[in-house]
Symmetry: C2
Subunit: 195 residues, 2 copies
């Protein structure tokens, strides 16, 4: 998505440890007009009329998912990062290893909001190592529901997450796929995509 | 706001310790159509053309703030709950005591996204003891910016937060104000508001 790529080129910052900082418009300050364009693009990429719900994960996926949901006319559920080890029979749960924060946390979704008949679109801001998406897929499958696909604003294509998901047969769509980025020069190269 | 009150009556659950559980439509699963009605109502309550930004706090304020922002045509910034004690000169910071979780945490906002010329509308899902709103107000004022007001989906009017903020001269608007709720019977009574 050209507009998102341009914005990343203009305002994204390449930081130490393969971090792409886009907090000016995507995950701290949020440009809602841009989010609307992204929501329309997610709808174009996932035209399936059978999607029943959007699943995301707190915190930075929520805004993207809520704005996109307007084009799908479905509710959003966000998985919560749990700090307690309190096991609750009423929740689906997955362990996610955070690439950025180098730690493992539990995410939970109430069983009330995922049903076997659901066809779930997973949306998030970033796809890198793919652990968050995999955790959400596990949760959807625990509920006996179907994964319609995974949509992300930015895929760090040089990391293995997207490849691994695609090899498992999951449909993955990124609005902007970063092929390489250079901490020293700040240069960001996007994957050449078909028009 | 009648539609929100009706929804709370129908699907809200009164839990031990003065907890009102509305995770079916407000802060775990999110009804985006309802959020749009809420966004329009926030706009009606805060018609000020001078609002430059909406500030909220992760995680459950983000969806409400993003949908509402479409009616204000401004960006959203969400304050992040910080787990580190790492002091960063580039961030505004406030300490917030959580009523529900009985603990204190830091929230941070990058100095890049709050400027003295900003006129900030603070939006959140709940107002109870008022600590989150006060923390966000502190952050706005640390930036030398102005607080246009505080808007919440649900105010627990029987707790002291809203009263304390109003006494300090902050404009506070709640879409649904709970006057009383009863854990034993599940009964929820809303504050009688003018039409």
């Amino acid at each position: 998505m050209k507009r998102l790529e341009e914005r990343i080129q203009k305002e994204g910052l390449v930081k130490k440890g393969n971090v792409l900082k886009v907090d000016a418009f995507l995950n701290h300050q949020m440009d809602i007009e841009l989010f609307n364009e992204m929501g329309k693009e997610f709808r174009r990429l996932f035209p399936d009329e059978g999607i029943t719900k959007i699943l995301t994960i707190e915190a930075s996926g929520i805004g993207i998912a809520c704005i996109a949901a307007q084009y799908f006319h479905v509710p959003v559920v966000f998985a919560k990062k749990s700090q307690s080890l309190n096991l609750d029979a009423e929740q689906y749960r997955a362990k996610i290893e955070s690439y950025t924060h180098k730690k493992t946390y539990d995410v939970i979704v109430s069983k009330k909001y995922l049903k076997p008949e659901d066809n779930i679109l997973i949306l998030d801001d970033f796809l890198a190592a793919g652990r968050a998406a995999e955790g959400l897929i596990d949760i959807v499958r625990s509920a006996g529901a179907t994964v319609a696909g995974v949509g992300v604003a930015v895929e760090k294509y040089f990391q293995e997450g997207g490849k691994r998901l695609r090899e498992k047969g999951v449909r993955v769509e990124a609005l902007a796929a970063v092929q390489s980025m250079d901490e020293a020069t700040g240069k960001i190269v996007f994957l050449r995509q078909e028009e």
